[in-house]
Amino acid sequence: MSEKIKILAVDDEKFNLKLITSCLPKTTYEVIGFTNAVEALQAFKNEFFDIILLDIIMPGIDGFELRRLLRKISKNKPIIFLTAMIDDSKSTLLNEISWDPFTYYMKKSFSKKELQEKIEYVINIYLRQKQLSSNSSRMESELALAGDVQRILLPPWCMIDSYTVTSSLYLPQSQVSGDIYEFFQLEDEKYLLLIGDIAGHGISAALYMMAVQSFIKVTAHEKKLAPHEFLNEINKFFCNELEGASYMTCSVAIIDFSTNHIHMQSAGHPGLFVCSSATGEIINSENYEKGGIPTGWFSQTNYRLEDSIEFNFPDDALIVGVTDGLFDACNQDGISLDPSELAEIIGSLAGSADAVTFPHRLVNAIMQMGYEQLSDDICIVALEKRINNPNLFELLIPPQLNEVGKAAVTFSQKISDPKVAVKIELLLHEYLNNIILHGMERKDSKQHIWVSMEQSNDKILIRGVDRGKRCRQEAGEQIDTDEDDSSFQASSGRGLKIMRDITSGISRSSYCGMNETIFTLEA
């Protein structure tokens, strides 16, 4: 605001402008008056005013029309209509004033005191609203930043190493989430998986999540703990370090891929689903719902070895962890997803979806079944043992253009036939360049593109999975024309044609923020 309150006054009568100026002392107010709307509008475009005083009945452009024109320049500059106008039976005056939240009204005649008080009252409201709006914008920025920090702390959406393939879907309900998961190697073929949900929402839950994430990483690497011991450490952390200010439900598992053995324990959280990819059967169906007390509730809680679960799993097992936000998914009738229903969906999907695509395909399947209303944070993790298959080669490619060449050559070197190898190299060049240039909005280090190549006697299947812009196809739809998918267009428009010429078929599918592309080539 200026030092003096600067007022734009518009009235077709010079007397009324003079009256306003006489009522407002020059020490505090600067009144710029106009008898016509056109000049007033021009002045408003070129100068700053704190407030506008408008007459209503004026020849040509009246006060209401002038306000409409002023609002094209400023949506919220306060306006006071000064008028002797009496409202008609249709409440024209009331309606014209009330639709705009920054319009006020004052009857002529007014006293000097009334006019000054009204102006100061209106300006104070305006300044308070401006402050609130500024605070709100700042909070939005801080939330967005907190969301970015959370994403940095979380594991990448897809990870592959010598023993495992893991994929995750992290869907905060707003910009930040209280859901947490961690997956990392403890030693050799032994891994830790933790998935949990910190109480509450918003910034506080997100901050606790970040603190717990750091604690888990340090504790897991420093100490060799069984699941129940891990839960006891987490419980102490919540009760002592966080002084009982929050709590977390979670499931912890130690998975040994050398012996195909899982040792897990739950603290008030859904357990892991362990399914056979061949049969869709849930191996631990008797105990995936086994609960426990959330960590952080009581300092005296003692998680015991005898409460944990241990069992073996087959090589083709798919291990899935979910947070309970999935059980809050509702259909149009307000009915939420039942745990047994979820288990059925997971089991049936396990037969057709591998770990890489499973989390996104699971949410997609749930929404297709009508459970579209997601009211809580959701986190899904899927992992499987990496089986030694000489015909299968897979790679995670960073979304950087300078990585494309390297990746394309690496794949082509796996092919013995030089003609086919060249095709593979060219195909991957086009595909990866198009996805990175046109499909990826975020290109940070966690947005890897997963690519696999599987050879059989007569054909080669190349699968690419990215988390770029949604492709337009229905699941598995074949791409026939250049216009079918804009994210497949090279700047010259030839990219898709080149890929079609090399391959005998291309299909694209999109599942809840993940795109899967399958190329088929003759071997």
Binding site: E13, F15, S111
Partner: protein, 105 residues
């Protein structure tokens, strides 16, 4: 009497005195005179819209300065114009026309 009541109004309600009050008063009288001349023309033309706009302006200005009797007569002329009662409008406009001279005395 009317002039005195206006001056008292300016002093007590508007808080305007001295040369500012004189200037404002003179501006009002000049405005009133101009509006009354326009009103006379509008009445001759039986231009209801114009009559109503002008009498509305006289109402506003007059009530702002405490010239309530003028404001009320302008309001009456405004209502008469709305009813197309040009006889009443004419007589009221002729009454209004006298005030600038009265105020200058």
């Amino acid at each position: 009497m009317l002039k005195e009541s206006i001056i008292i109004y300016m002093r007590d309600i508007l808080g305007i005195t001295g040369s500012d009050a004189e200037e404002l008063f003179d501006c009002y009288v000049e405005t009133l005179e101009q509006l009354c001349q326009k009103l006379e023309q509008a009445v001759e033309q039986h231009n209801v819209m114009e009559i109503r706009n002008i009498t509305h302006s006289i109402m506003g200005s007059s009530s702002n300065i405490g010239a309530n009797i003028i404001s009320e007569q302008a309001a009456a002329a405004n209502m008469a114009a709305k009813s197309h009662d040009f006889g009443s409008v004419k007589s009221l406009s002729q009454e209004l026309k006298k005030y600038p001279e009265i105020l200058r005395k």
